[in-house]
Amino acid sequence: MAVRPARGIRLLHTADWQIGKRLRFIPGDTGALVREQRLRTIEAVGALALERKVDAVLVAGDVFDMNTVAEETLRRFAHTLEQFRVPWVLLPGNHDPALAESAWTRLARLALPSHVHLLTSFEPLLLANGRLAILPAPLRAKHEPTDLTEEFANIETPSAAIRVGLAHGAVTNRLPARAEASNPISDTRASQAQLDYLALGDWHGTLKIAERTWYSGTPETDRFRDNDSGNVLLVDIEGPGAPPVVETIRVGHYRWTSWTHSVHNAEDIAALHVRFETLDRPWDRHLVSLKLQGAIDLTARAALEEALEHWQARLRFLQTDEASLHAAVTEEEIEEMGGEGFVRQAVARLRSIQLDNEHPDRHAARDALAMLYSDYQEIKSDVDPAH
């Protein structure tokens, strides 16, 4: 843990809280639990800020998932911030731009306590008895074609104050092309505007752009993308011009993991079990997206179903994609099931449909074979309970 600088300032840099976000692919109670966790994580951020005696918590945009969050969500959020008496500095992002009517205007009407600062204009904010000058670049539309941080260079601040820029957007030349589509921010802004630190939001993973330019990422992961999310940045700056000391601190509750697994036989299913078991405990903090591929026979299919049900019960959430998993019926199975007579013919017909990549019913044929096999097993166990 870094020691608090005596004359400098200490910041907690975070972003992309996206309060009110619904995880539409996680249904029911699990979805509600994961959603609720976002507020709990903010509480954890608040507690951390008090513990580390920070001068301000900078939230670099996308505080809300949308401007039209529910009133209850808005009020619960406000109440959460009220509980932690540290300066909360909130900046609008592309999800919650400072429109004529927005979550910000609604929040402003709630009469927030003085330690909550809504930076909806380009007016610099002075904190820590004037030692800290925050230069905000709030988005006033979802997509700004120009770099709003250009103005930072023209804004004068007290000479003793540490200049910290706060912006939301895509740093040019540093991110994947699709992330740079709008709200551009120059990658040389910190030096060009003589900033001691530029706190950025929009990229959900923790990312250092330059010595003085960082993306904190979202404190609570909300998607299956391996980009080091779930952190906040503790930033210590000794004084104007001093380099920032940045510490990455994990605050996220849930672990989001995704991988692809090939299944062809019983050994592959056993390997899948092993893969699951390598996850950190407790397992109920994990959300897993599993893509299955390969071809399995009807017996292995039943074992796979069993394995997935087993892990569904243990994990917080398990999402499977079986589009690339094909049913393979063994000759023995068909022999056993069809024996002789018309069932054999029917199985043969279904297989031919399944194997015909042009046939529109090929997936239905795969499911139909599985159904047939399931029926066959049930009939057999009815006739011979020992089976």
């Binding site: 009110g20 976000k21 619904r22 995880l23 539409r24 692919f25 996680i26 249904p27 029911g28 979805g31 998932d65 949308m66 401007n67 039209t68 969050v69 529910a70 009133e71 209850e72 969500t73 808005l74 429109l99 004529a100 009517e101 927005s102 979550a103 205007t105 609604r106 009407r109 099931m337 069809g338 024996g339 002789e340 007579g341 018309f342 069932v343 054999r344 013919q345 029917a346 017909r349 279904l350 449909i353 019913d361 997936h363 239905a364 044929a365 795969r366 499911d367 139909a368 599985a370 159904m371 047939l372 029926d375 066959y376 049930e378 009939i379």
Partner: protein, 945 residues
Amino acid sequence: MWIRRIEVRDFRALVGTTIVDCADLTVISGENEEGKSTLAAALRAVLFERHRVGGQLAESFQPFGSKLRPEVTLDFEIGGQGYRLRKAFCVRPEAELITSAGTWIGQHAERELEKLLRVKIPGRGPSKEDHQGIWGLLWAEQGRASEAVPISGDARTRLQSTLEKEVGAVLGGTLGPALLHRAAARYANSFDRRGLPRNERKILAAKRAEFEREYEALSAQLMEHEAEVDALSSAQAELNATWRAEAKVELERELKDRQEAHARANTLETHAEDALRSLRLAQAKLETSRARTLQRREAAADLEKARAAERERAQHAAQRKKQLEAAQQTRDAAAKQLAEAIATQERAQRSFEECVRARRLIEAQRKHARAHSRLRRARKLERAAQSARDAADAVDINEARLDSLRAARERMRTAEARLQSVATTISFSRSKATTTAGVTIAPGASFQFTEPTEFCLADGERVQVHPGGESLAAWREEAHATETDYANMLKATGFESLEAATEALRKRAAYLAEAQSANHQMRFVEAPLGIEALTREIQELADLSEALRAQADDASPNEQTLNKQTLNKQTTDEQVALFNEARAEQARDSATTEAQRQEQRTSTAETALRIAHQAWFEQDARHQAVAEQVHNLEERLATSREQTSDHELESKLVDEVARVEAARASVEKHLAASKASPSEETAKALRASQERQAKASDETGALERKVRELQIRLSASGHAGLGERLAELEAERAATIALHDRAEREALAASLLHRVLEEAAADAKQHLLEPIQARMRSLLGAVIGSAELDMDAELRVRGLFRTDRSEPFLALSVGTREQLAVMVRLAFADLLREAGSPTPIVLDDALVYSDATRFTAIKNVLQSATNKGQQILIFTCREDDWADVQGSFVRLEECRSATKPGAPPQLAETPIRAPAPDIATMNREIDKGYAQTVHDGLEAEAHHE
């Protein structure tokens, strides 16, 4: 199976014992009612019915009206092994199956039979098609030969398994149908009969649609919200735009300039208007001055005119006054004459009234005297009538009683005459009178006897007389009774004789006539209204006379005198009274006419007086008015002159003319100055400036209002949390879509599975039919020609395909139907026989509708079937039809033995010619507890009973 012999005893029509031996093709013939159907029924009974069957079916086995014990014995072979099956029904029911391995008794025999024949003998009630398996299929019952071959579940299963043996196990044993059943159930769970979604699929589809609708609605709301946020931004931007403030300042400056220019123009105009007002004031004053001068002159002229008129009115008034006085005098004279005429009229009236009273008194007195005379006469007549009525009442006889009397006398006379007519008359010729029996018989006397009488003649002789030939006692009694009756009636009337009574009645009539005459006289002449009324009339006349006298007394003394004189003088003469009355009336009328004439004159004079008075009054009023007018004019003129003299007025008029001229010159000067800068133009420019400013102000106001409204609306809609709601809904929608997609996927798979299985099963079944179709092609070719059997997968005959056309079974002719049914049976039987299960075909009166050609053809196919080893039993009543086939011909009448009914059966020698019993098989059965030995079977039966 091969039937060797059928033995029937005391079964329905077959009383006694009937034994039929069967060959490959056995034609059993017999006349109607000879027992063919009974034999067929007996065969069915022994094969399919429980030996303990009861009820109507069992009773139908017994010969009609008997309590005999029907018994059927069947010898048959299966797989080269011989069997004897015997069943007795109704009385001591029994079943026995003798095999080479042993004998089965009772229900064990039937169980064994079930296994042997693969039939089901029902636990209770009669056997049905379902129980009879393949037997029922191959048995064409009497009267049902043209029906489609009935196929039961067991028969179908057996045939299908036989077919599978031939073509392979295409039906998949028990697993195939079970899988198909499950697939059908899966399909039915997801699709309804029309192939539309049902159950969970349907619910999910509805839920999905609902979510889509909600999502659309909420999205629309959110879009609207976002559009309003944009609108708010635009409105705020526009409101705070820089150009707006600059434009406002420019507008205010322009407005100020124009206001000042307009004020200047207004001042010039005000001065011109003031000069104009001064000119108008001067002109008005000049007009006033002129008017006053003119008025003064007119007033003087008016006064002179009024004075002349006043004089004229005064003369007219004096003239009218004189005319009024003359009219008053005329009216007074007329009034005096009227008063006199009225007095004369009153006197004449009174005199006339007196004369009338006098005349009425005379009339009353005369009527009074006349009425008195009539009263007296009337009373006299009344008394006379009463006397005559009294005399008539004294005669106590009337016509009725007289008639009764006459009738009594007539009856008496008739009775006497009748008695006399039968009396015996005896004449005595004695010389002297003799007395005998109290009767003196005078000489020569004759006597009539009406009763037996004995005379004792003097010489002691006795003469006995017996009148008539019979007893006359009744006649005598009648004569006596009528006589007594008549006498009594006379006595009752009080008359001596009928003639006296007749006379009395005549007198009574005379009295009554007299009374009636007197009454008539009184009633119609003297007192038509009765004596009472007459008396009242007399009293009224007396009262009237008295009243008239009293009125005369009440008249004035002068009149009284006159009246009394008149009365006294006139009482004697009514004519005179009438004359006086007429004269007095005439005098009164003259006086009245005079009075009226005088009244008319007076009235005319009054009218003339009123007119004259009115004329004077009006003339006088006019005069007064004119006089007052003159006075007023004089006073007004005097007052006016006191204020301003005529001279002063004239000089003021001249001054006013000079002032007007001066004012006009001033107006012209100011108007010329005002025209140089007209206020309309400056006002117009000012208005334009004001409008521009108002418009700008309105625009700003509208924008401010819009901003306020949008802020309020957005605050409300933001409060609703639309975005989060939409996200939440999207999550639920996505979950539902996933579920629905999965359900659809499963439904698609279930549908595919069901379809594929169904198609495979149908293919398999069609493949299964091939052995039958092959056989049928051959049979149909031989009998009907080129045709294909139309049979479904369940082995049901649907009809025929001929020349690519399907003909339903029921559309075929009856003959073709029964031929087709026989051929299908032959095909089935052939299949079974080749599979090692030969089963006899029984045709009971079949093929009766076939034409000769087809009949011959079908006989050929039957013959060829028997040649291949198929047993066929044919029951027919037309032996000749079958004469040309090679087989065994059995005439039922020849099979009947002479055994007496009820005698114990004479079993033929057991035809079992089987190899040694299969002891190992038997042992296995016993081990399973499934069979019993004969002894055990008997014991079990006893225990059961």
